[in-house]
Symmetry: C2
Subunit: 256 residues, 2 copies
């Protein structure tokens, strides 16, 4: 049965989508069958994987709100072995549309039951908030992977995110754990990055991956071509880092 | 009476808080009486202005949800002529707490009526979502200032944001207009930045400010000292850009 990873952090612009798209691709490159669920109304992961307008006709909004079977909203990507459930701007209304529905936090968890048999890994890209969409991801997930930009403001929200994960574990999803924290957009020449990295490792210890994702312009160019950076430029520093991250995630999974 | 500017963009990490804090400071440096309202549960603007724990005891959550008068939640900052209404992590629950309250989109607009007489400018820092908090800011505002990171994913959400502003103008706040779009974290050596900047100017024309905010490490260091970059390092490229932006905003306001 698949391992389900929520890629979450309420701080905006820390590299959630970039990590979801490129880690999923790197896991597929390691011969894992991977599903990426885009739960962000912005739909950046959907665009970053080059999904066409027709491919988005059925999406995570229909699954979460309309009860469409997940398999009907799943489309293939240009990456062999990897599928995606696209998102839709209407997802932004999910908090209000599900307000009177009992057990609204469990809708995603229930919708992925069948998919757990078809895939080895299911990654969920979350929006920059701790609202009902991210809550659905945390309830459906086995573990959370937290991208953390090496910037001061990004550090500020980490303890609140950790407390939220613990609350979800206590009340809604007892199996939930932290898979790890990945430092993103790291710039060796910038002292602030070193300072934040040292602080996070002191605070979170082993939870922080050894792999650090460097700031690398090829990573930010790839989405404009509708491709993960591993397909856009396999040999750049960004691709190599995401391949290392996939190996480290797999090592942690084996050691569980 | 004050001009109220919402600093909004649902894309995360594009420089909303950095622009709110530093534009507010630059306007205060131009002898304007300025109030910054932090409407983001992350509280980055509150931290970036060095507000102490006691200073946050009464905050925008109490104003929006509890009906506390705004003046009671307003505190001075280290910047002469500038005050702030801090935020609180409980704001994250505003969408659900206000669900049954009639005219919940107008709560901020009603709470700032008195403050409009005491200040020349009121800036509102918004969270990375188009939920009830940002909606309250758009209903209370006279105009929207949109920070836009010169990255591909940031470009993707712009048309959705513009459509949302038009909908708010049609149904909730007929005076709402776009004050302007400011390009942030611009790196001259990166072709992608040029490409995005050209696309935005072609799409939005005059709405895009001439002033472009460069990527500048001093800007991201300043919040760890609890200071706007204008107080942290007045002469760096980031400070100079925000001073130019304040002048351009004031020119547009005079020309209205
Ligand atoms: N390693 C990297 N090097 C260079 N640019 C990067 C890197 N990682 C991400 N970016 C760029 O930084 C921006 C923010 O990343 P991304 O959109 O993945 O963050 P996010 O956390 O998903 O944002 P949101 O909170 O809006 O969902 C994007 O424009 C992306 O292309
Ligand atoms: N001109 C700049 N040069 C360098 N770093 C910058 C610049 N502007 C912003 N930053 C940094 O980029 C990160 C994102 O900026 P900021 O937090 O202001 O964005 P935001 O849109 O408010 O994010 P959120 O969506 O989470 O509210 C911060 O760590 C900030 O310090
Ligand atoms: Mg994202
Ligand atoms: Mg912010």
């Amino acid at each position: 049965s698949a391992r389900v990873l929520a890629i979450a952090n309420q701080k905006g612009g820390v590299g959630k989508t970039t990590t979801a798209v490129n880690l999923a691709t790197a896991l597929a490159a390691c011969e894992k069958r991977v599903l990426l669920i885009d739960l962000d109304p912005q739909g950046n992961a959907t665009t970053g994987l080059g999904v066409s307008a027709e491919g988005r006709a059925r999406n995570s909004y229909h699954v979460l709100i309309g009860g469409t079977p997940l398999a009907e909203a799943t489309v293939e990507t240009a990456v062999p072995g990897m599928s995606v459930v696209p998102s839709d701007v209407n997802l932004a209304g999910a908090d209000l549309e599900l307000i009177d529905i009992p057990r609204r936090e469990y809708r995603l968890a229930l919708s992925i039951v069948a998919a757990r048999q078809r895939f080895d890994y299911i990654l969920i890209d979350c929006p920059p908030a701790l609202g009902l969409l991210t809550l659905n991801a945390l309830v459906a997930a086995d573990a959370v992977l937290v991208p953390l930009q090496t910037e001061f403001y990004a550090l500020e929200g980490l303890s609140h995110l950790i407390r939220t994960i613990e609350r979800v574990k206590r009340h809604l999803n007892p199996k939930l754990e932290i898979q790890g924290i990945v430092l993103t957009m790291f710039d060796r020449r910038n002292n602030l990055c070193d300072m934040v990295a040292r602080d996070v490792r002191a605070y979170m210890g082993e939870a922080v991956y050894e792999t650090v994702i460097p700031r690398n312009v090829r990573v930010s160019e790839a989405p404009s071509h509708g491709k993960p950076v591993l397909l856009y430029d396999m040999h750049c520093a960004g691709s190599q880092a995401y391949i290392r991250l996939a190996r480290e995630v797999l090592r942690r999974e084996r050691a569980r």
